[in-house]
Amino acid sequence: MKNKPIIRICMGTGGIAAGGTEVMKAFKKQLKRKGIKADVKKHCLLHKVGCRGLCAKDVLVDIIVNKVKSTYQFIQPDMVQRIVDEHVINNVPVQDWLVTDDYHQFHNKQIKVVLSDCGTIDPEEISSYRAVGGYDALKQVLETGSPGDTIKTLKESGLRGRGGAGFPTGMKWEFCKNQSSPEKYIICNADEGDPGAFMDRSIIEGNPHAVIEGMVIGAYAIGAHKGYVYIRAEYPLAVERLRKALTHARKLKFLGKNILGKKFNFDIKVKLGAGAFVCGEETALIASIEGYRGMPRAKPPFPVYRGLWGNPTVINNVETLANVSYIIRNGAEWFASFGTEKSKGTKVFALTGKIRNSGLIEVPMGISLREIIYDIGGGIDKDVAFKAVQTGGPSGGCIPASLLNINVDYESLAQVGSIVGSGGMVVLDENDCMVNIAKFFLQFTQAESCGKCIPCRIGTKRLLEILERITAGDGRDEDLELLMNLSYDIKASSLCGLGQTAPNPILSTIKYFREEYEAHIKKKKCPAGVCRDLLDYAVLAEFCTGCGACKRVCPAGAVSGERKQVHRIDPELCVKCGACFEACKFKAIGKG
């Protein structure tokens, strides 16, 4: 059978959470029932794939018969039998369950480089990566290129670090190559700590070999023999797939001694992070690998001069490394044809929050924010107004609706007070309180501050206290100015990136949403209806059916009323937990 059918089941973290494992089992069972099982590998290729982006519609299943691909969404085990009977065997797709227009719209404006093979290859089979040209770049570099050529290609491509800072990768490698030290290291930073970001997890889960290949090429370029992947323990599936991939790569001589028969030795160790956000900072990460508390130190000297155990060390982000093999294979010019003058190539973003199509996207640098949110993301979930998009996690800022036309690249986002960062994009709607969002991020950075330098340790604590009193209704007139002054001081005097950027969420929300802060401080009101202490709950008599749902859930006994009569909330007893608001099916509880 030449054109054997291919069945791909999304089994990234999102796919598995939606039931991917069970769907896989159901397919195996149904194929066996139809007598196809005996040669699953030979006649029908059934395999798992990593994330292909639109996790909101998981479990996604691709069926390819006679080279025609159909994609199904929201697949559950009980739907599998019909798909096998009608589509796999008789080649008549089950129309009702196929993806709809928004799935295609989600992909139309994307350009996939790093993610080009995520979602099509089997992340647990090295042969699957080899079949799409995997490890060809490494062969090319080892057989025909020199370390100098490799670095030259990287420099010409214009690739910049995808972890947030955007430092040119080729230059970093060159600095390290020029160091004459017998021991050098290359570290892959997979400590993706930004809340709201999952690019690195998805890349490792979907195509771990691309990261490994990038590391081996990097090691060859700088002259390293040992590498580490520092990965979060919170990503168990990514760790498992990475370990499996390393074992496979060693077997085929892409890692280890005399790689591909050349005089080049290199191997990679996996180090599990232990749950400290600050370890994403490179000097803290090094301290953590060395077995100490992950505390940053002053730079310079930069790690390329003095890094792990005092030796020259290159630290690259997962996405940066995953780009490398594609650049080598397709050429620097090809890569540089995407993006803007200063920000070349594509960037992966995690588009989440109050957006219709939430998921993982890869777009050329310089695309407008509006295209990302409305064309790819499909606009705001439910019929409410867009308010802002938070980019760059705790180090970034909130960009308001008025700036939706800006281009997404390193420079443009920095101009409006945010950053590209590692690539998290959380969309906020009119029901989100910007003061609460700022408080959320400060809670985070304050808790994650390592405590070494005073501006960050004490400064973030003070910032948080001020935000807490504002959201509790105790804000003072001078608080806004105080927040801003303190923010500038912390930015100017903190030791590492964590402290230097921690005030960004506050500064950007004050800049664009000052009136919301003022409503909290002066009117003691939360316009979005989020800050609990500033809310009053009341029954809206015209909608109340007297069903008693609110009365049953009220933990304080504050709701009274006879059945089928309009109920009432006693403001004296109300603890403002919002349980009645949640429980009411008739929108008869008002808050404000």
Partner: protein, 152 residues
């Protein structure tokens, strides 16, 4: 010396003498980091116990007291936050009758924890019950799962 501890000690020397890996191994073996184990290794390796505790309290992954049989972890990343993770957490505390500051039920059946982000933001809000990820979970659904845990 306990067999489990001996094995951890052997791994330690293999592992470039990394205290973080050592603590991770202890936690894997016991579910938490018992004080006695720390003192034992401190003596054995001639490293001050303060260094162990300094590291164990620095990293969020380490627990110095025993945890419950079932671990319920609520993701508190940005996407989960805007989709109501705080309500889930409060609901859990009420359902399990946990006093302020307490994270494990008195019968040591269930421990509730927070995590900064599990990177499953497109299916927010997310709760992980005994390593299984539950996406787009509502308070109702979560309480049902908790009651199920209690019954077992």
């Amino acid at each position: 010396m306990d067999k489990a501890l001996k094995k951890i000690l052997a791994d330690f020397t293999k592992n470039e003498g990394n205290i973080i890996s050592l603590l991770q191994n202890i936690q894997d073996a016991f579910g938490y980091i018992p004080e006695d184990a720390v003192y034992c290794f401190s003596k054995e390796l001639d490293i001050p116990a303060s260094r162990f505790f300094g590291i164990a309290t620095f990293y969020a992954q380490f627990h110095l007291s025993p945890r419950g049989k079932n671990i319920v972890t609520t993701c508190c990343g940005t996407a989960c936050h805007v989709k109501g993770s705080e309500r889930l957490l409060n609901g859990l505390k009420t359902e399990l009758n946990l006093p302020e500051g307490e994270h494990t039920t008195s019968d040591r059946e269930i421990t509730i924890e927070k995590v900064n982000c599990v990177g499953a933001c497109s299916i927010a809000p997310v709760v992980i019950i005994n390593k299984k990820v539950h996406g787009k979970i509502s308070a109702d659904k979560l309480m049902k799962e908790i009651r199920l845990l209690r019954k077992q």
